[in-house]
C-alpha cells in the first residue's frame, strides 16, 4: 500500500571539512525531503556554519558526498553547472542582508537579477515579477525603485528573501536569517517564511542558535557540537526530550520556549 517514495531532495553522507588539525565538521550525514525544514543548532564554533557553507557550495569539503535530487553528485559537478544550480534551484539567505543584497542597486534590480541571470530579457516582465515578489514579502511595491540602504533591517531581510525566491528554487539555505533583528520583526519574518515554505513547497536548511526559531520553523532538528552531529530527530522531540548530554545542556540553558 506504500506509494513509491520519491528520493530525498538532498542526500548528505559523511561530509567532513577540517581546518588543518581543527575539525570544521565531521562525518555529517542526513537526508532532506521535499517540503521539509531542517534546523541545525549548536553554539558558536560547533561547525554549523562550516556545514552550511560546504552544503551550499561556498566551501569545498575534504570528503563526503552531496547528492541533489537523487542523481546529481554536487561535489563532482563542473563549476559552471554548480553555480547554475546555486542560482536557479538553490538559494542562500545570509544573516546580514548586506552580504546577500546589492546595496547600490534598486529593490527591483535586486529581485530581477536572478531572472536576468537565468536569461530574462523583457524589462516589463522582469519588473512585473519583481513587483509581485515585493508584495509577497510585504514590501510596498511603490518602493521598487528605492535602494536597500533606505530600508529597515527587517525589510532588507525580506528583500533578500524575495531576491532569492524569485526563480522558484527548491532548496533554500538560511544562515541565522532572524539574527540581528528586533523580536517583533523576527516574528513577522518567521510567519512569512512559514507561509512561503508551505505555498512553494520549499525545502529549507536553516542554521541558527535560536531554539525558539527552530521550534516554530523546523520539522526536524540536528544538534551539532565540536563539528559533529550529536543528536537529530523531530524538532519537538529533540527539544522536549533531548537524549544527548549536550542537547540537554543546550535546552536547559535557554529561557523556556
Amino acid at each position: 500500500m506504500n506509494a513509491q517514495m520519491p528520493p530525498p531532495l538532498l542526500t548528505v553522507r559523511d561530509l567532513t571539512r577540517t581546518y588543518g588539525s581543527r575539525i570544521g565538521c565531521a562525518e555529517v550525514s542526513f537526508d532532506l525531503y521535499h517540503g521539509e525544514v531542517l534546523g541545525i543548532v549548536g553554539e558558536s564554533g560547533s561547525g554549523k556554519s562550516t556545514l552550511l557553507s560546504c552544503l551550499a557550495g561556498h566551501l569545498p569539503p575534504d570528503s563526503g558526498r552531496v547528492v541533489w535530487d537523487g542523481t546529481t553528485d554536487v561535489l563532482a559537478l563542473p563549476e559552471a553547472a554548480r553555480r547554475r544550480l546555486m542560482r536557479t534551484e538553490w538559494a542562500f539567505v545570509h544573516q546580514n542582508p548586506r552580504d546577500g543584497l546589492r546595496m547600490g542597486v534598486t529593490a527591483g534590480g535586486n529581485v530581477g537579477e536572478r531572472l536576468m541571470g537565468a536569461g530574462a530579457r523583457h524589462f516589463g516582465q522582469i519588473r512585473a515579477q519583481a513587483t509581485d515578489w515585493l508584495e509577497r514579502v510585504e514590501i510596498d511595491p511603490d518602493r521598487i525603485d528605492d535602494r536597500p540602504r533606505a530600508f529597515s533591517g527587517g525589510m532588507q531581510q525580506r528583500l533578500q528573501i524575495a531576491r532569492n525566491l524569485v526563480t522558484g528554487p527548491r532548496l533554500v539555505f538560511m544562515d541565522e536569517p532572524t539574527g540581528g533583528l528586533d523580536v517583533s520583526v523576527q516574528a513577522r519574518l518567521l510567519d512569512l517564511l512559514r507561509g512561503l515554505v508551505r505555498r512553494m513547497g520549499l525545502s529549507v536548511i536553516i542554521v541558527t542558535h535560536d531554539l525558539a526559531v527552530v521550534r516554530l520553523l523546523a520539522d526536524r532538528l540536528m544538534v551539532m557540537k565540536s563539528g559533529r552531529v550529536v543528536e537529530q530527530g523531530l524538532t519537538d522531540q529533540v527539544l522536549d526530550d533531548p537524549q544527548h548530554a549536550y542537547t540537554q545542556l543546550l535546552v536547559s540553558s535557554v529561557l523556556q520556549v
Partner: protein
C-alpha cells in the same frame, strides 16, 4: 632614433614581444581581456598609456598614423601622442582617416568607414564592463569564464527603472561573437553599430588596468538590450552647423555666455573633408 641597432618605435625588444603576444592572444579570443605587463610611458595614466603601448607594438616604418581625441586631431592629447610617435618612430602622420594605416583614438570611431588592413587602437580607462556592480576582480573573471552575464542587464535595468530608458550613452557594453561581454571604451553608443562586423582590426589597450583586448575584422559585436527596450544609437537631433551633415555624431559647442550654442561634427577630419568637397 631609428638606428637599426635599436628597436623601432620606442619600446625595447622584450616589451614589444610581450605586447605583441598579448595582442595576438586578444585577437585569437575576441572580447577576452588579456593581462599584460603595462610599462611606464612618458605620460600620466589616463592619457592613453595603454593605447600608446598597443600602437607602438603594432607600428612598422611604412605605417601612416592618425591620432584623435573625441574625434578631433587637434586637441592636446592627440597632438602630443602624434608628436611622440613622430619623434620616437619617425612614421608618417595624417589627419585623413582613409589615408591612415593605424588610428589611435580616444572616445570615438571615425565617421569615414574603415577598411580592411586598417588598425584602430582604443584608449581604455576601465576595461571591465562588470566592474560597475561587482568590485571583486576574482568574481568578475569567474563571471566571464562561466558566461554569467545577468549582472550586465541589471545595470541596464537600473537605467530604465531610474530614467525610463537605457540612459547609458557611452561605454555601452557589447556581446562579442555570443561569448564575452566587452566594454568598447567610452565611445558614444552612437558608434556601437560600427563595432559590429567592421573590416578593420580593433585593439583596446588599458594601461593602468593592464589589459588588452580585441575585435578582429568582421567580428560580431551586439549591443546588449531588452526585448521591450531595444538598443538605439543616439545623437543630438541637429545637423552640423559647419558641414550640414545630418548623420554624423555632434559635439555641442557653447559660443558665448548668453546661452549661444552650436552643434558641430565631433570628427574634425570628416567635417573638414565635407566642407572642402562642397567648395
Amino acid at each position: 632614433m631609428t638606428d637599426a641597432a635599436f628597436n623601432f618605435a620606442y619600446l625595447d625588444e622584450q616589451t614589444k614581444r610581450m605586447l605583441r603576444r598579448a595582442i595576438l592572444k586578444a585577437v585569437a579570443v575576441p572580447g577576452y581581456q588579456v593581462p599584460f605587463a603595462s610599462r611606464e610611458m612618458p605620460m600620466p595614466y589616463g592619457w592613453g598609456t595603454g593605447g600608446v603601448q598597443v600602437t607602438a607594438a603594432c607600428l612598422v616604418p611604412e605605417d601612416v598614423l592618425k591620432v584623435i581625441d573625441q574625434g578631433a586631431d587637434d586637441t592636446t592629447n592627440a597632438v602630443s601622442i602624434r608628436k611622440f610617435f613622430v619623434k620616437t618612430a619617425g612614421v608618417a602622420v595624417t589627419e585623413a582617416t582613409a589615408d591612415a594605416s593605424i588610428i589611435q583614438t580616444r572616445h570615438r570611431i571615425p565617421e569615414h568607414p574603415l577598411t580592411e588592413g586598417q588598425i584602430l587602437v582604443f584608449q581604455v580607462p576601465i576595461p571591465e564592463p562588470l566592474r560597475f556592480l561587482e568590485p571583486r576582480e576574482t568574481e568578475t573573471r569567474k563571471m566571464h569564464e562561466l558566461e554569467e552575464y545577468g549582472l550586465m542587464h541589471v545595470k541596464l535595468y537600473e537605467d530604465i527603472a531610474r530614467h525610463g530608458a537605457i540612459a547609458t550613452s557611452y561605454a555601452y557594453p557589447v556581446r562579442v561573437e555570443g561569448r564575452y561581454v566587452m566594454d568598447p571604451s567610452p565611445i558614444p553608443k552612437f558608434d556601437n553599430p560600427k563595432l559590429d562586423g567592421n573590416p578593420a582590426l580593433m585593439l583596446f589597450g588599458a594601461g593602468r588596468e593592464q589589459r588588452i583586448y580585441a575585435l578582429p575584422p568582421y567580428t560580431r559585436a551586439i549591443s546588449l538590450d531588452f526585448e521591450d527596450h531595444p538598443f538605439r544609437p543616439t545623437k543630438a537631433d541637429h545637423a552640423c552647423s559647419l558641414c550640414g551633415s545630418a548623420t554624423s555624431y555632434l559635439d555641442e559647442v557653447i559660443t558665448d555666455d548668453r546661452g549661444g550654442r552650436m552643434f558641430v561634427c565631433s570628427d574634425t577630419d570628416f567635417c573638414r573633408s565635407r566642407r572642402e568637397a562642397a567648395e
